[in-house]
């Protein structure tokens, strides 16, 4: 990789990381309790433990926070999908 391209790539990585870090601090302080009820009384250690992940996956968590989702998503699997479909067919 040429030095010019490497410079732009490193700047892009740095910008993503800095935005992620700022978002992560805000999110673990204020947002995490809104997207997962079990995080409402999460300890300081828990908030520090998830901070790096929030910085890396900030677009995902920002979208979830802004969309107002109050609970983690439901797991998708063949059995759970078939059970849900069966439940609907039965009119339950």
């Amino acid at each position: 990789m040429s030095v010019d391209v490497a410079w732009w790539v490193s700047r892009a990585v740095l910008a993503y990381g800095l935005v992620g870090l700022l978002f992560a601090v805000l999110f673990v302080s204020l947002g995490v309790r809104r997207v997962d009820p079990l995080a409402a009384e999460g300890t300081l250690g828990f908030r520090l433990a998830i901070l790096p992940g929030c910085a890396l996956l900030w677009p995902l968590m920002a979208r979830r926070w802004l969309s107002g989702q109050r609970h983690p998503p439901q797991e998708r699997s063949a059995h759970r999908a078939a059970a849900a479909a069966q439940h609907v067919d039965d009119g339950a």
């Binding site: 990789m1 790539v9 995490v32 997962d36 828990f46 433990a49 992940g53 983690p72 797991e75 998708r76």
Partner: protein
């Protein structure tokens, strides 16, 4: 899980595990540095430490990778799997120390910033000895960082176990990158064949164990009807069945050891058929916590207990006992003519179904 998140849910087992891990890592580093200082006294301290951390991380990565297949081949390895995430984080910390020292030694004092320096160094992809091996290590480091950063249960719940597992399967990509990082980096400067031999042996061990474990598990993933097993409507009750009401004979009830499960494949996934206290019940095989194999666990205190982290479910309902609220799909079960019959339609997670009674002439249906 019905309690608030903490940084680590400590218990005695985890403390013993982590103390053993830290002692093992420190012992390895001390031995490595001692042996290197003896055989190569001219090597600088920072390079010696950089190699010690890198080698320690690479060895731990092998341990992390072989635990899975070893547990599938022999249950006695399961205690190692219990806290595998801490092994992974320890491996990442060693890799981080290796990376920091590599940046300080080779990339911190040039004309460009360290990241640009790593990405643009050694552009000779047509040369083995000058191949850009450092970007390979950087890419592996990025994957291991993502895995370590998402190792908390919060991420399991918020990414969902299948997505979390898929993300953490990237460890195999990281391993491939690191094998190339070592082969095209450190090994190019080595005159001895010992390190190359050890690297090759490690790769062979990881590959062989995964292949053997996969071959051993393959029969459980064959869909039942396609495998030629009998799909039946039990005699005597056939007239009462609706058109879409079929039962699949999965195994003789005597083939299931007391308190254990038979694993079969129905409706596109594995199903765990448990026998305990003269009864039989079936649940989806994937634990809601980390999609661990419930069918490889046991019934303890009347609860199906996941072999990975001890999450428990009541066999009849697939629900964790209070105050926990995990739920897995359940299946209707009958026992007739000494065979276990299962309705292959999964019921919604946590649906209570009457267990089949072994020896009941009519059989307990749904």
């Amino acid at each position: 899980m019905a309690h608030s998140y903490r940084a680590v849910g400590w218990n005695r087992t985890k403390k013993v595990y982590d103390r053993t891990l830290v002692l093992g890592v420190l012992l390895f580093l001390a031995l490595f540095v001692g042996a290197t200082a003896t055989t190569n006294p001219d090597m600088s301290a920072e390079i010696m430490l950089m190699r010690a951390f890198g080698t320690g991380a690479f060895v731990l990565l092998h341990v992390v990778l072989v635990i899975g297949p070893l547990c599938r081949l022999d249950r006695r390895w399961l205690p190692l799997l219990y806290n595998r995430r801490h092994l992974g984080v320890a491996m990442f910390v060693l890799g981080l120390l290796h990376a920091v020292l590599a940046v300080v030694v080779y990339h911190a004092f040039g004309d460009v910033d360290p990241l640009t320096s790593i990405l643009s160094a050694n552009a000779r992809i047509d040369s083995l000895s000058q191949f850009p091996f450092q970007p390979l290590g950087l890419a592996a480091f990025g994957i291991l960082l993502l895995m370590a950063a998402t190792s908390h249960d919060f991420w399991l719940a918020n990414l969902t176990p299948p997505v979390w597992k898929a993300l953490h399967m990237l460890v195999y990509v990281a391993y491939g990158l690191l094998v190339m990082h070592v082969a095209l980096g450190a090994l190019q400067a080595e005159t001895s064949a010992v390190l190359a031999g050890l690297t090759g042996a490690g790769l062979l061990l990881v590959t062989l164990l995964h292949v053997i474990a996969a071959l051993r598990e393959a029969p459980a993933d064959v869909p039942h009807a396609a495998a030629g097993d009998r799909v039946s409507v039990p005699h005597g009750v056939a007239a009462d069945q609706s058109a879409d009401d079929c039962w699949v004979a999965v195994c003789p009830v005597d083939s299931i050891p007391e308190g254990r499960a038979h694993i079969t494949c129905l409706a596109g996934e594995r199903v765990a058929v448990f026998r305990w206290d003269g009864r039989v019940a079936a649940v989806s095989n994937a634990c809601q916590h980390q999609n661990g194999p419930l069918g490889e666990g046991r019934v303890i205190d009347g609860c199906i207990t996941c072999p990975w982290h001890g999450y428990q479910y009541l066999p009849a309902s697939g629900r964790s006992p209070p105050p926990f609220d995990e739920r897995v799909p359940t299946f209707a079960v009958r026992v007739e003519d000494g065979h276990v019959l299962i309705d292959p339609r999964p019921r919604p997670p946590g649906t209570e179904l009457e267990p089949a009674i072994i020896g009941d002439a009519v059989g307990a249906g749904s």
